[in-house]
Amino acid sequence: MMILDIIYFAIFAVVSYLTFFHLILWVENKDKIVKKIKSGKLPSVSILVPAFNEENSIEDTIKNLLKINYPKNNLEIIVIDDGSTDRTYEITKKYEDKIKILRKENSGKASALNFGLDHAKNEFVAVVDADTLLEKNALRNCMKCFEEQNIVAVTSHILTKQKNKLIEKLQSIELMIIALTRKLKEELNLIDVTPGPLSVYRKKMLVDLGKFDENNLVEDVEIAWRILRNGYKIKMAYDAMVYSKYPSSLGKWWAQRTRWSIGGLQTLFKYLGCIFKKDANVVRTFLVPVSIIDYVFTIIGAAIFFYLAVNFLINNSLYLIKTIFMGVRSFYVNMNYSLDVFSVYGTILFISSLLLIKASLSNHKEKSSISSLIVFPLYLFLYRFVCIYSIYKFIKRERGWLTK
């Protein structure tokens, strides 16, 4: 058996474990996913909207927040202008009688959130991105999930309405899959991100935990890991739909995902040490090991891919040059396919993944086109290259927002 075969077996073992893990969770919990929680009391919430150069979207977001179905006397909307250089502040100013506006020098989203947190007066804080629109009951549905005191955060069901370009359609499919897997992970308290479009936190606990990490590129991932590491819970309100804007070009998508991936690495390195501790916390037993394996296999996978691709190119180029040089007419083309253990593993994984994708899409009214679904594996494949690029950037210590 060649070393490559051994690596393929290892990759299969890990990928299939994670796929089966989600499948089992789905089989066991599919009835609970869309289960409605009865409405309880609606506590007071401060909505924090950090905004940096959001002149194109901030007005819609403010208008949307003013219309949500939540008792107005229990709601405080705070827009934090993080040193915008465009018309964000002027637009926001039009609503100063209905919302609170804070202004500060630009220092990043986490810093803006912490600034807003210092000025929030309510028991709960909801973080809403400046390019996000909430469904009427989204916040209400999130609040219903705070059933126990040790639930520190509740996330929402993020989708996008942009579905014109292929890259947007692919992100839309990805969001639906993420929503399902995130909800499934709730069962084991494994929700590893409280995303920016809409997440609600218990303010006091968030402050006690040290607020958002201003040195991390993905403060929403880091805070989630910190919440879990401290033994608290994160829930997801599957019926709390929010619509956010996602990159509409490959370049912007690449930049955004690179930032997320570098932030993921920052978070991983921050919590790497916990792996040597002796506790049963999910960050130590699941999130850190899975992240390590993910990055390691991404590196190995990329190395194999480049090795095979370069080998293929060199061999075939040399073969072609030599055959042309020797005046050969018959070309040797190895197009043989033989059934082997990897074909079987591949088929099993493909079917399992299809089941999960089908389950994810079946909970949504909007249909995804077949062509987008066919291209989707390529999208996931491309994402691996983002990870490789991020590792390279991370090693080179080139951080920054990478987005305009």
Binding site: L25, E28, M326, G327, V328, R329, V341
Partner: protein, 216 residues
């Protein structure tokens, strides 16, 4: 039992079933190769006996023997490809060293039989033996092997039944092949021996081969 263990057990089950299936498929392919080799062996004995028969009872059956030889040549060439495919596809039983040796011996037997038949029946076809290395291949040798095979396929297309194409692996520790390489002082591969008289070493062009084969 929690989900972590359930997923682990399911993974182990699928993993083991996959390996069992993989071994079964490898064995199945290996059995198919062995079965075909046995069939070729029988064909070889048939051809050999026909050759003996011609030696004793005259040349009336020369055309039949030639026909048999050509069928055999085609069959054994295809089987060679099948062995290579099996070697490439098999994961748990990948080398097939014995089958390769057996195959090379059958090819060698065919070569010798072809020489004998040619002499007895005064046939004018040429035996074109392609000696190649298959172990510890460098990129250069691997590509040259493939290019040489392509050149020989071109030659076969041009010459048809006027040549017998016999590929032989030269690095399987077979005494008979070692004797052949020693006789023709072959040190560079791929090498071509035409009609047991001319030996080319290294990549040989179709023009060079045609100048000796002269099939047109």
């Amino acid at each position: 039992m929690n989900t972590y263990y359930k997923a682990g057990i399911l993974t182990v089950i699928v993993f083991i079933l996959g390996i069992i299936f993989g071994i079964w498929v490898d064995n199945y392919r290996l059995s198919a190769v062995r079965e075909t080799l046995s069939e070729i062996d029988t064909n070889w004995n048939d051809a050999r006996l026909l050759n003996l028969y011609i030696g004793r009872l005259g040349k009336d059956y020369c055309d039949l023997a030639l026909e048999e030889n050509l069928v055999y040549n085609d069959k054994i060439y295809k089987e060679g490809l099948e062995i290579e495919r099996t070697v490439e596809a098999n994961i748990f039983i990948p080398t097939l060293e014995q089958e390769r040796r057996r195959y090379t011996l059958l090819q060698t037997q065919f070569w010798f039989n072809s020489q004998e038949l040619k002499e007895k029946c005064n046939f004018t076809y040429k035996n074109v033996v392609h000696l190649y290395k298959q172990k510890d291949l460098t990129r250069e040798i691997d590509i040259e092997n493939k290019v040489q095979s392509s050149i020989l396929l071109d030659l076969k297309e041009k010459c048809g039944n006027k040549i017998m194409l016999i590929p032989l692996a030269a690095d399987l520790d077979l005494t008979v092949i070692d004797a052949v390489t020693k006789q023709f002082n072959i040190t560079i591969y791929p090498a071509i021996i035409i009609d047991e008289k001319f030996a080319f070493q290294g990549l040989t062009s179709i023009d060079e081969l045609e100048s000796v084969v002269q099939c047109i």
